[in-house]
Assembly symmetry: C2
Homo-oligomer: 338 residues x 2
């Protein structure tokens, strides 16, 4: 089964009528239990389930039916080179849904810098799928949309939702049971601080890093068992608003994911010297008695987890922190703003 | 079976006559396939076998029969506090061999700084056992001595030998098949550069770090399988003088050991920011076409593996490197110098 046949389960490519233009916004999500490793690359099926929280920042995308004989892609108003990875990844995703002789103009902008492990591809493909749904008047539910977004970037399945979301790994080979859904819980006091240590592009993208890890790391063999354990703890932490359990589990999970990379051959290390200093700083603040934990994705930057009551102390220690409120009032509606 | 009963297999504690004084030297060894995790703490039995190369630096120890009612320990001529970990570890090791009403004066000096992952406890306990053998006129072979040294510090079993050595994990519960032996091979061109990034004492000693790893890391479950694989490759590399295989295997093994620590809960990170910068530097030099690899023990410092032909280039890139020649002519005899 290939991507094209998978998409045929959900939409007809010759579907008309369509709008001339549609816009959508999708949130960035940060995994608290990480996605690392694919069991099927064509359909982007993961080895494990993963669990995230969405942030009130993300990607805004406008799709317009183009008149030219090719797609045009703009990021922050700047035309993207047709030879770039970004252009190719965007347009080959659009190919999955493209009616004959259709071309698109894609205008997109991110709140956060791209390529630095800040999940812009997750919100990017989710926004693109939401814009496609409007453009072609689909009436797919979020579960279906999450499976379509998954084909662009696995973690974008979780970006369809506000708050906590889980992406089920599924077990079928056809990929129809690997979708994301919302976890029904709120946690108004939860804070996520973004500590941007480098905005440089990564040396190895997460897709290739995953392949290298799954193919060469012995330690990776034990990763699915850890994820299963961490997911159980994370559900418990969310249901009971147990921040200590949430923080320790998220930090253990993230550093273990980086451990699987470090144990690859050759080794993959997303840590910069500043990352090590940052993790040490988090641990030092924790020793002072503030509950603060970190998580890291496939990049050098640190995401800092804490509760509103400790915000002042933590911002005092890390003045460059960009503090986001995952459950901020009103951030639910922004998803459908046009 | 406890340590005392184990020692009774080899020596009699009331053995007389004895000398009044004896000195010995033992070499530092650096594992190319690491020892990480015990299956039996009392007898210091490891989860896996390990393989090392000895260096022409180490520990000099002189034992004298003391007149006082307690042991005295001197490091580099300075008397060690009786409340210190070093004093307690040394004297409780001597307890295993102490005839009734016997007290020792221990004078020891290391070529390398202690406690910074530079294996001074390995050469230390090996030198102590060699000195005890002379003092009490034992006539144990190195295999037996390696098992006695193991009770003080696991990796000291390998410090009884010059060149390459393997410490067999053994499988018996009585610990009598967990010994080290020499690997019959020389490699005159092999170089080990010590890159000392910090001489600070470690925050967590390797004994406790091992316990924390084996008890809390999921990824550690896959470690024994990796070690078995790496040992096979390392034997092949040594027999064929295949430096690429030796270097890639040593680096993969060491970074995977650190990965098991990183995946502990709480996480154990011996990397300093400088360590990350150092590993990156090694990788950059390799990209220039020089065959250079790193290994790291339970500390922040880096050991650099290369061949004599690339020595100038590598010393040029890392001027602070202390270059040692494991198979230097004459370094075989130093072991018995008095």
């Amino acid at each position: 089964l290939d991507k094209y046949a998978f998409v045929d389960h959900f939409v007809q490519k010759n579907a008309l009528p369509h709008k001339e233009m549609a816009s959508a916004f999708a949130k960035t999500n940060i995994a608290l239990v990480k996605y690392w490793g694919k069991r099927n690359r064509e359909l982007n099926l993961p080895v494990t389930s993963s669990l995230s929280v969405s942030l009130p920042v993300g990607t805004y995308t406008t799709l317009t039916i183009g008149e030219n004989g090719s797609d045009e892609v703009f990021v922050s108003g700047k035309k993207v080179d047709t030879e770039s990875v970004f252009y190719k990844r965007t347009t080959s995703f659009l190919d999955l849904f493209r009616p004959k002789n259709f071309f698109f103009t894609v205008e997109t902008k991110n709140d956060l810098p791209t390529g630095a492990g800040l999940a812009s591809s997750a919100s990017g493909f989710a926004a693109l799928v939401l814009a496609l749904q409007k453009l072609f008047n689909w009436s797919l539910d979020k579960k279906a949309l999450s499976m379509l977004a998954r084909l662009g970037s696995g973690s974008s399945a979780r970006s369809l939702y506000d708050g906590f979301a889980i992406w089920h790994k599924g077990s079928q080979e056809n990929g129809l049971d690997s979708f994301a859904e919302k976890i029904d819980a709120t946690w108004p006091e939860l804070r996520m601080g973004l500590w941007i240590l480098s905005e440089d592009e990564k040396k190895i993208d997460s897709k290739n890093a995953m392949i290298q890890t799954t193919q060469t790391s012995f330690l990776y063999k034990a990763w699915p068992e850890q994820v299963a354990n961490d997911l159980e703890k994370m559900h418990e932490a969310i249901q009971n608003s147990d921040f200590t359990l949430l923080g320790t589990t998220a930090e253990h999970n993230a550093l273990s994911m980086h451990a699987t990379m470090l144990s690859s051959a050759p080794s993959i290390c997303y840590f910069l010297p500043e990352s090590i200093r940052g993790i040490q700083k988090i641990h030092d603040i924790r020793k002072q008695g503030y509950e603060v934990y970190c998580t890291m994705d496939a990049g050098p930057n640190i995401k800092v987890l804490f509760l509103e009551k400790d915000r002042m102390a933590i911002q005092n220690e890390i003045p460059e922190l960009m503090v986001l409120e995952p459950f901020r009032q009103g951030s639910d509606e922004i998803n459908y703003a046009e």
